[in-house]
């Protein structure tokens, strides 16, 4: 899976070139090329049924790609926080247990003392997300915002370079949504993490992300790059017109980039 390393791919944690995603040989989206670097905060948006989930699962290695190249930097660690709705409320667990689940990578689960050795790290992750006081509470009894913090802590204990979150603000009120993004911003700078967030909340995403991947099967769009560049594309502008998004560049916004 050798890839040409152009200047734009230097130091990338994850680099895709001409990536094609889809099912049974049928591509859902046009080929995509982009690179995620340390400290980037990426948003992945698109309407329902646009191919977002397929792209996300392909980037995570959970779904085979149809073509193109995809390469993780040497030793790059990725952690994934699925949607909270995917978690079964019947599964018992205290906050500490949920975070401890994130400790293992590869075959490390065979080390019987692995979690004991990482206790300090678990507590530090809980402190970093502001959930240290919740350590012994039952996970299912927490609020949605608290649950999301705990899940992020669970992802942090595996010491990722790239943190991927699927709809982290679903079922939250406005304050809760902002709190999640503020937390991600803090982690991005304090831990020099790259973060990729899938979200339906376009306006909220625009306030926080540095880069965007926008997919829309209807207009055949699959663009990724710095926020300003993606927001200037015709399909994006057409899709989000009147939805409250102001393009960061006033000149573009004046031409109709307001969305």
């Amino acid at each position: 899976m050798a890839m040409k390393t152009g200047p734009e791919g230097q130091g990338a944690l994850l680099r895709v070139e001409g990536l094609r995603v889809g099912y049974r040989g049928r591509a859902l989206l046009p080929p995509m090329t982009f690179a995620i670097r340390p400290g980037d905060l990426w948003g992945l948006i698109g309407p329902n049924g646009s191919g977002k989930t397929t792209l996300l699962r392909t980037l995570l290695g959970l779904h085979p790609r149809l073509g193109g190249d995809m390469e993780r930097g040497a030793g790059v660690r990725v952690a994934y926080v699925p949607q909270r709705g995917d978690l079964d409320a019947a599964i018992p667990g205290r906050v500490l247990d949920v975070v401890l689940e994130g400790v293992d990578r590869g075959w490390s689960f065979l080390d019987p003392l692995g979690t004991l050795r990482r206790r300090d790290e678990v507590h530090r992750a809980l402190e970093d997300v502001g959930a240290a006081a919740l350590a012994h509470q039952r996970f299912r009894e927490l609020s949605e915002g608290q649950k999301q913090r705990v899940l992020v802590a669970g992802a942090l204990v595996s010491r990722p370079d790239l943190l991927v979150l699927d709809e982290p603000t679903s079922a939250m009120d406005h304050a809760g949504e902002h709190a999640v993004f503020d937390l991600l911003e803090t982690l991005r700078t304090s831990r020099r993490l790259a973060v990729l967030v899938v979200s339906h909340h376009t306006a909220l995403l625009m306030e926080h992300v540095s880069h965007l991947a926008f997919v829309d099967r209807e207009c055949g769009a699959a663009v990724a790059g710095p926020l300003e560049d993606v927001a200037a594309t015709p399909c994006f502008r057409a899709h989000f017109t009147g939805r409250g998004f102001e393009h960061p560049d006033p000149a573009v916004a004046a031409q109709g980039g307001a969305a």
Partner: protein
């Protein structure tokens, strides 16, 4: 002990040499199925153990039929162990091969395995009249005796499976309940799931042959149902379910001795009683929590 005298626990332990194998088999099968049952119950696969134990039962019945009807009494291929294992593995492979969206075909496959297993066992039973008692033992766990060789096999299989599961429990839990996040972190989710399903299939086939289909189903569901309500985490649930299962398997056998009950039914009832108490104890707790929520803030 005269005919009308109620046996005592002291008499049970006086005759320990006679009862040690079946009583300990109940405890071992209970511990093994209790542990694995946590994955079955939390994975919403309660019907899995019912279907696999019926498939194992059919395998044993077919083995008897080959021995009696086809003159294969000396053939290792007609061993009840082989029959139970082959049929359980076939049923498990059918389930693992299901790639339907959200496992929609899985329920139908489970139903097929359960019904074909149960009806097939009863049908084959009519062709092996001499072994009909064995068939009843197999279905309802009414066997009061266990051969030393069968006990040793069960103990060995249980020790190996429990050791593997205790050692790899962190990986097994993540592969079962958070497979996507575990895959992203590089855990061998596919291999862990094969080990998980493989050990469930092997445990059910061996336990069904020794203690019967009904108690195997009960011990794989009821202790786990109670333990997951009581324990603070999945890891604690595994140990607690194994303990409850071991107790139910052993105490059920003792209760069968004391009150002249069928063994499998007795083991099932003990497990059901423990689970019933746990469920009942939750009612006042839930009501108190609801009352607290409904009470206006002071």
């Amino acid at each position: 002990m005269t005919g009308n005298e109620v046996p005592t626990i002291a008499q049970f332990f006086d005759a320990w040499e006679l009862f040690q194998y079946p009583a300990m088999s109940g405890a071992i099968a209970g511990a093994l199925m209790g542990w694995l049952g946590v994955y079955v119950v939390l994975g919403r696969m309660v019907f899995l153990s019912a279907a696999l134990s019926q498939a194992a039962g059919l395998g044993v019945a077919l083995a008897f039929w080959l021995q009696i009807g086809w003159g294969m009494a000396d053939s290792p291929l007609a061993s009840p162990w082989v029959g139970a294992t082959v049929l359980t593995v076939v049923a498990t492979l059918l389930l693992l091969a299901d790639r339907s969206p959200a496992g929609t075909r899985r329920e139908a496959i489970l139903g097929f395995a359960y019904l074909a297993g149960a009806a097939g066992t009863l049908a084959v039973g009519t062709r092996i009249a001499a072994e009909v008692h064995d068939i009843e033992s197999l279905l309802f766990g009414s066997a009061v005796a266990v051969l030393p060789d069968d006990f040793r096999l069960l103990a060995t299989v249980a020790a190996v499976i429990l050791a593997i599961h205790a050692w790899g429990s962190r990986g097994m839990i993540q592969a079962a309940f958070s497979p996507d996040a575990a895959r992203v972190r590089g855990l061998p989710v596919g291999a862990l799931r094969v080990v998980l399903f493989g050990s469930v299939a092997l445990a059910i086939s061996v336990c069904t042959r020794v203690v019967g289909a009904l108690p195997v189903f009960a011990l794989s569901v009821l202790p786990a149902a109670a333990a997951t309500r009581l324990a603070p985490s999945v890891r604690w649930s595994l140990w607690l379910a194994a303990g409850i299962g071991a107790f139910a398997g052993f105490a059920g056998y003792v209760a069968a001795f004391l009150w002249s009950l069928p063994v499998g039914a007795s083991q099932t009832l003990v497990a059901a009683a423990i689970t019933g108490v746990v469920f009942a104890a939750e009612v006042p707790i839930a009501l108190r929590a609801r009352w607290k929520r409904a009470r206006p803030a002071a």
